[in-house]
């Protein structure tokens, strides 16, 4: 089999992994070797599905001894199998890197023979890259659950970022769909990597030249829509992962039908792309906007609203919190306003030191007034001619969510009289009115 066919098979098998970031770490070749990486990461192209391609994302091999039902590489699936040798994969990476096609390598693998053997082949590839080619670019390696601790340690020294996929959001789903994997087997390497990073940090204080262990941190991924978990459970799980395992990122991947197993959604079911998008929006709110999971969802409303994004939903449910005065309120409060993001909030802070801001200036700063106008005052005044009612706000906010429009959901023709009357009335109620009884917040049982 030639290199061309191998690359086709092994990139096709790897494409369902969502993570393709090259961020979180700065490195320089210091005049020797080849490669560098910068903290914010660089996207080298965008594929036809609109996802960033930053790393060469391939599997070492797609043969696998496991039979996970959601996975395209499962043992029982009849697909062509191939494997890279460490030498040819390293050479391919370097040649792609020289031409500036990629920022580095994302290496994962099916389990060939046993976890240890698979892990050793991955280590060999990275060793060739780092030592023979003196490659300083970005490397993301998958930790193989079940591999020896020593091997994981070695892999972590060679790679910049590591990840262990949690795959399914709950123990039951995992045992149902991935009978060969257990939750503890998935979490053990995750905990080991976290400990390693922590120890490495104190080593680096003592010895400047101590080898760096997973300097760009670790991430994980879970599949959305293959199993019946709610958004509330998923969000709680991811926030627990951020807190407990200090993950850099949790990725969500809408389940793409790859199997006609009766335990899974049928092959003709559309992937829940809008749901995945809402989860990412919420994830951003947790990481950059000082929100907490329990503010966004609760047991009575366990799913995100398809019509408007989580931040707007929160704002509409807390109309008593608004309007806020842009010229006075602190940064955290500014971040709560729909239409004001991290960048514009920071710009507001520095601009309002000089003079008080009006609506024109806000527009120049980059605030999306179409959304923000319902929730702010400038110098004590609402925007001229604006009537603020929750219903008007809902209409303005739901109409212009670009994600909702592009996700292939068919918009409805608005008519003068029965607009909002029929289909999305219940949705509207969901986000406009708080549940009447005060919710008893019980800790969700995610196992963390």
């Amino acid at each position: 089999m030639n290199l061309y066919d191998k690359l086709t098979i092994l990139s096709d098998a790897a494409k369902y992994d969502a993570a393709c970031t090259s961020s979180g770490m700065t490195a320089s070749s210091k005049g020797t070797g080849i490669g560098s990486s910068i903290d914010c990461g660089i996207c080298h192209t965008f594929s036809a599905d609109g996802r960033c391609v930053s790393l060469l994302k391939v599997l070492m091999t797609n043969s696998c001894i496991y039979d996970c039902k959601y996975c395209v590489n499962r043992r029982s699936n009849d697909v062509k199998r191939a494997a890279f040798t460490p030498e040819e994969l390293a050479e391919l990476t370097i040649e792609f890197y020289r031409r500036n096609y990629i920022e580095g390598l994302f290496l994962s693998s099916g389990i060939l023979r046993d976890p240890d053997y698979t892990c050793e082949r991955m280590i060999e590839t990275l060793r060739i890259l780092r030592y023979r080619y003196r490659f300083y670019g970005y490397i993301h390696a998958k930790a193989i659950p079940g591999a020896d601790r020593v091997l994981i340690q070695k892999l972590g020294i060679l790679a910049d970022r590591m990840s262990v996929n949690i795959e399914l959001p709950s123990e039951q789903s995992l045992s149902l769909l991935a009978p060969d994997k257990t939750r503890t087997a998935v979490l053990a390497p995750m905990a080991q990597i976290q400990r390693g990073i922590k120890e490495n940090r104190s080593d680096l204080v003592r010895y400047r030249h101590a080898p760096r262990f997973v300097p760009a941190g670790q991430s994980t991924q879970m599949i959305i829509g293959a199993t019946p978990e709610t958004d509330y459970q998923i969000l709680n799980l991811s926030s627990a992962l951020y807190q407990k395992y200090k993950l850099k990122r949790v990725f969500f991947s809408a389940y793409m039908p790859v199997s006609d197993n009766p335990l899974l959604p049928a092959p003709n079911v559309k992937p829940p792309l809008l749901r995945e998008h809402r989860l990412y929006q919420a994830d951003w709110l947790l990481r950059y906007y000082h929100f907490e999971a329990k503010e966004l969802l609760d047991e009575e409303n366990p799913f995100f609203n398809p019509y408007i994004d989580p931040k707007c939903t929160w704002a509409l449910r807390h109309m008593d919190f608004f309007p806020v005065e842009v010229n006075e309120v602190p940064y955290e409060t500014l971040l709560r306003v729909p239409g004001i993001g991290v960048r514009s909030a920071k710009r507001i802070l520095s601009a309002r030191k000089l003079h008080s801001l009006d609506y024109d200036t806000l527009k120049k700063i980059g605030v999306v007034l179409k959304r923000a106008q319902f929730f702010i005052t400038c110098k004590g005044k609402l925007r001229e001619g604006l009537i603020v009612t929750p219903l008007a706000a809902f209409r303005a906010l739901s109409g212009d969510d670009p994600a909702f429009r592009t996700m292939g959901t068919k918009g409805e023709q608005l008519s003068l009289f029965d607009a909002m009357a029929s289909s999305n009335e219940s949705e509207m109620k969901l986000c406009l009115f708080k549940p009447t009884s005060p919710t008893v917040t019980t800790e969700p049982t995610t196992g963390f």
Binding site: K15, S29, G31, I42, G50, S54, R99, A254, M256, K364
Partner: protein
């Protein structure tokens, strides 16, 4: 301090020329209605004052901006000069007049028209430079790497460092077709050419092989069920496509044309 005049300034188009113009404006206490370089000179009814480039005067302005106005303003001026803003010289001059009066905080006066225009232009330049760090495609031509880009702003000075850090042991060339400028790194020395002409030569077999591999990888990695061309276009506007190996008929068609027409070979001339 300065007052509006009906003069216009004309300079030679270099950074030092521009700074000499700034010096002149402060010396004569006048604010010209127009400030343009000689190659973008238009017919004007106003009297034109020719600005003689003077390195000494320019250096004085440069040092003053850096030390008195702080890093952020200094960046705004240096990057603003590289941007494709219409009438950038006058906007920058007005900004400098304001900044020398108000100090470093002048850069946060976003309500001011010149500050707004300038920050927006600089953001446009930085964004384009960042995107191009990823979107540039090199071809291996006899062991050295060559790339052609068609940016709107003068991004070469901004992105050069990134590639120097990335390929310290290679020889490489980046040619900016829009502005006819080239950045060359050869045998560990760098040079920057203006008014250059270059054309990507025909690729050899190995190069063609890796291009094909990459095109194939690109086609494979997309998930059909998530096809979303709108999203791709938002992140990667179409004007970048023509120089990207994996994309666009543009690139693949050009390739075929090159194969047909003989006699088109690299010509790098100053």
């Amino acid at each position: 301090m300065s007052f509006q005049t009906n003069l216009s300034y004309c300079y030679d188009g270099t950074y030092y020329g521009f700074l000499s113009g700034v010096f002149e404006s402060f010396r004569a206490k006048e604010l010209p209605t127009d400030f343009f370089s000689e190659d973008s000179r238009q017919f004007s009814l106003y009297p034109v004052k020719w600005i003689q480039t003077d390195r000494k005067k320019a250096n004085r302005v440069d040092v003053a901006v850096r030390t008195k106005l702080g890093n952020y303003c200094y960046e705004l001026i240096r990057l603003g000069f590289l941007s494709c803003l219409v009438n950038k010289e006058r906007s920058m001059l007005c900004f400098l007049h304001r900044a020398f009066r108000d100090g470093p905080k002048a850069a946060n006066q976003i309500a001011d028209d010149h500050v707004y225009r300038l920050t927006k232009a600089v953001r446009h330049l930085s964004n384009e430079a960042h995107l191009l760090k990823g979107f540039i495609r090199f071809s291996d031509i006899d062991g050295s790497l060559c790339a052609v880009i068609t940016p709107k702003n003068h991004v070469l000075p901004v992105i050069a460092n990134h590639f120097l850090d990335r390929y310290p042991n290679e020889n490489f060339l980046i040619y900016d077709q829009t502005h006819r400028e080239a950045f060359i790194y050869e045998n560990r020395t760098i040079s920057f050419l203006k008014n250059a002409a270059y054309m990507l030569p025909q690729s050899d077999e190995t190069e063609a092989f890796y291009r094909k591999l990459w095109q194939n990888y690109y086609d494979t990695i997309a998930i059909e069920g998530r096809y979303n061309p709108r999203c791709r276009m938002t992140h990667m506007p179409k004007r970048y496509w023509e120089n990207m190996t994996e994309l666009g008929e543009g690139f693949r068609k050009k390739e075929q044309q090159k194969l047909k027409g003989d006699g088109v070979f690299p010509a790098l001339a100053e």
